[in-house]
Symmetry: C2
């Protein structure tokens, strides 16, 4: 069966399992077909219905649920809000989806020690709001922040524009509580910004996509909000000049709080979608650079950025001093997503990373791949990290494009590896990239990952067949 198709049959949960889980979960276990299909998908192209959906309530209860599933070898897939793009929360082998949406409490805010303890179902924005009341933020800022949960952020090491200065989920989490695949409770990490006792299980769980343990609580590291943030918009005549500026900006000491980029194909799309947005006629690349800090420092900081950004390829620069100006220069970037959705609702969005000086080669080679495959490719992303969202705008009615899609993706990934890059910067592996990661990881490392998985999850019930390809 094609795993991409939605597959909802009658619940196949053995009666003994259902009875045991019902006893633990009461009304929090759902087996109606409609409920099961509502939890059958994420933001990828794969759908599969679970046999049952369980709303998790607390760590102890999750331990009991996992023990039952461990005993009967029933697969468990952890689900935050299903905003993932790689099929990470799709129950490939049916079984149980554990939804964390009701474990949505912030348990402690400790401003003196700059941490916040939360359940995994709290959304990223709820964390930001709670932290902001005390003058803090949590660094990870994925686009889906309003809706995605921190459980998902932890599972996929999520990040966003701010990562260039403030790091990803990995650098902003102090400790975790979790239930392993045999129902054991583990507590990892510390409440402090330093600690080196035992192996780093915290970072091992972060980005493990629910394959090692179910995260039930997290201690997040908070950062004080800067006094002011200002944004600069820069247009360049070609990608090479823009990339030169990115390298120069990252080589000087004022680290931008965002350093985003869009390529010429994106600019074209934006121009078509919203012709009134001001973009120079000859612009073939745009950078958006944010700088934050003390009010009194921002002028010097912006000067330092502008000096680094200067090169013969620069066409124009706009600095937003007022909020209205900021709004205007963000228009171009913000028009991109709807413009893309408009033209290619079924786009494939990859989130590859390359060393920043290799961005021009990446883009030029992608142009060739695009021409050969006849698949339009548009690129934008977090240039300061070299994290480029490569979008294949496949028209599903175009037979030639559909035929070329796989080989096109194949070439993209090969290219990224050749440029010393990585296949994913923030979306993760899930199902979508599982069969490609052997190109990046060496065999002995992959073998160790499989062995580690077995220690955490001896019956292979936690999100089976995700992340790691078959041995």
């Amino acid at each position: 069966m094609n795993s991409n198709q939605l597959h909802v049959t009658n619940s196949n949960l053995p009666k003994a399992v259902y009875r045991a889980l019902k006893k633990i979960c009461g009304k929090d276990i759902l087996t109606d077909q409609s409920d099961r299909s509502a939890y059958s998908y994420d933001n990828s192209r794969t759908q599969k219905a679970p046999d049952a959906v369980i709303f998790a309530r607390n760590t102890k209860q999750i331990g009991q649920i996992v023990k039952v599933c461990f005993q009967h070898k029933i697969p468990i897939v952890a689900r935050g809000r299903g905003t993932g793009t790689v099929g990470g929360s799709v129950p490939l082998h049916n079984g149980i989806v554990i939804s964390f949406e009701h474990m949505n409490q912030i348990l402690e805010i400790n401003p003196d020690n700059r941490f916040l303890v939360a359940e995994p179902g709290v959304t990223n924005t709820q964390v930001q709001q709670a932290a902001a009341e005390f003058g803090f933020f949590w660094a990870p800022d994925p686009t889906s922040a309003d809706y995605c949960s921190i459980g998902g952020n932890l599972g996929f090491n999520s990040a966003g524009p701010r990562a260039v200065k403030y790091g990803t989920t990995r650098e902003n989490t102090l400790g975790l509580e979790a239930i392993t695949g045999n129902g054991e409770f583990i507590k990892t990490g510390v409440y402090t910004s330093k600690g080196v006792v035992g192996y780093d299980l915290t970072r091992l769980l972060i980005g493990s996509e629910g394959t090692l343990a179910l995260i039930t609580q997290a201690t997040l590291k908070l950062t004080p909000i800067a006094e002011l943030t200002q944004t600069i918009q820069l247009f360049y005549k070609d990608i090479d000049s823009a990339a030169l500026a990115v390298v120069a900006i990252m080589r000087q000491s004022v680290v931008p709080s965002a350093l985003e980029f869009i390529d010429k194909e994106c600019i074209k799309l934006i121009k078509n979608y919203k012709p009134d947005i001001r973009i120079p006629a000859d612009a073939k690349a745009m950078l958006m650079v944010s700088v934050d800090g003390l009010k009194d420092c921002l002028e010097s900081s912006i000067d330092a950025i502008l000096t680094a950004a200067e090169n013969p390829g620069i066409i124009s620069k706009n600095i937003a001093y007022k909020e209205s100006e900021a709004k205007e220069i963000w228009q171009a970037r913000k028009a991109l997503s709807p413009a893309l959705r408009n033209i290619a609702p079924k786009k494939i969005n990859e989130d590859v990373v390359v060393p920043i000086s290799n961005i021009p080669t990446l883009i030029h080679e992608l142009e060739k791949i695009s021409t050969e495959s006849t698949i339009p490719i548009v690129n934008f992303g977090h240039a300061g990290n070299g994290n480029i969202h490569v979008n294949l705008l496949i028209d599903t009615d175009n037979q030639k494009q559909m035929e070329n899609a796989e080989s096109c993706l194949d070439q993209v990934f090969d290219l990224v590896i050749r440029l010393r890059g990585t296949l994913s910067g923030e979306h993760g592996v899930g199902i979508e990239k599982r069969d490609y990661i052997e190109r990046e990881l060496n065999p002995a490392s992959l073998d160790l990952m499989r062995k580690i998985k077995k220690q955490f999850d001896p019956h292979n019930i936690l999100n089976p067949d995700k992340l790691l390809p078959d041995a």
Copy 2:
């Protein structure tokens, strides 16, 4: 036998093993008693001679050496420069010490992509010098930087004053190459500042104290050097006021590049050791705060720090604008180490961490423990991280102190755990803290660590009996 005593007998290496290793290593394998005793210790109280010392030359050769040792179950202890304080590089069960001192090449400096690739035997200072030529530094800055190797820094997740702003080794390493306990070559991580493909083996190896694999190469993340650094010296009438200032400084948005503290006992020592150093008579705590950034920004940044540092307990503040002034205010801090060595050459230096708002309780409780045990305790350290170096100044000729030492240490560790702290911030576990870590780690986590160790090192030959206590 007491493991603290030096134990050099004739080399016990089985002849077949010696012959196999000799074939691989040639003149790089040493078995003379004098050579073996030179590699029998680190900066802890434990000494034990290996059966042989091998100077590692390259990754491939290390793979061959480990394969021989794996086959014959010969223990291997990786050694950087032996500056560790917890016995991490002491060959507890004899066997082989692999010294990395000749694998001391910087293999690549990539300023455009802000990374540096080095062999593990390169010293921290050599990395800093090589990076500085391109305007960069590597964040970890242990006191022993001039002598310690990055291999050791990686093994113990080393850090220093700069960690408060720039993070520890964990946050500043992109990828590793290593040989596991069965001689397999693994490559972990990426060349970029983001990446989420597979489990995070890089962070798993960092801080694993040579128990999982021998690190043979590292890709280090570089940071641009700030235009200017200035330092402020602050005196307080009590530890509570100083700690209040630490919390307030860490709650505002100008993150100091160092936030060091010394307590009243340290101040006493310094005054006795160098009476001419200017310290206010009623000072019972001192903070040293460094701020770095653009020249034009530093005044506002220092203002922000001073505002946060202000409270009724502040006695005086000295800002170093010129280099001569900086030299003067660092005198007090720099006099501390020789003063300590002078008075208590056999001090026990613990590097516990507590949430910063718990620093006053820690210090007050330590005073009580000190009084009860009659062991003088002096405290200083990286206050911004809550990483306090607790020094037990035990006089080995004082029978009562010697009798109380163990229970004193015991109480210190219990106190730290009660205050939501961790037993080590940067020194690691090794032999010295191995039997205490069960107080901090939950049983299932510790069990998983043991299982992970077994996957990397099936015959338990890599630094056996370090870090993890017996099951």
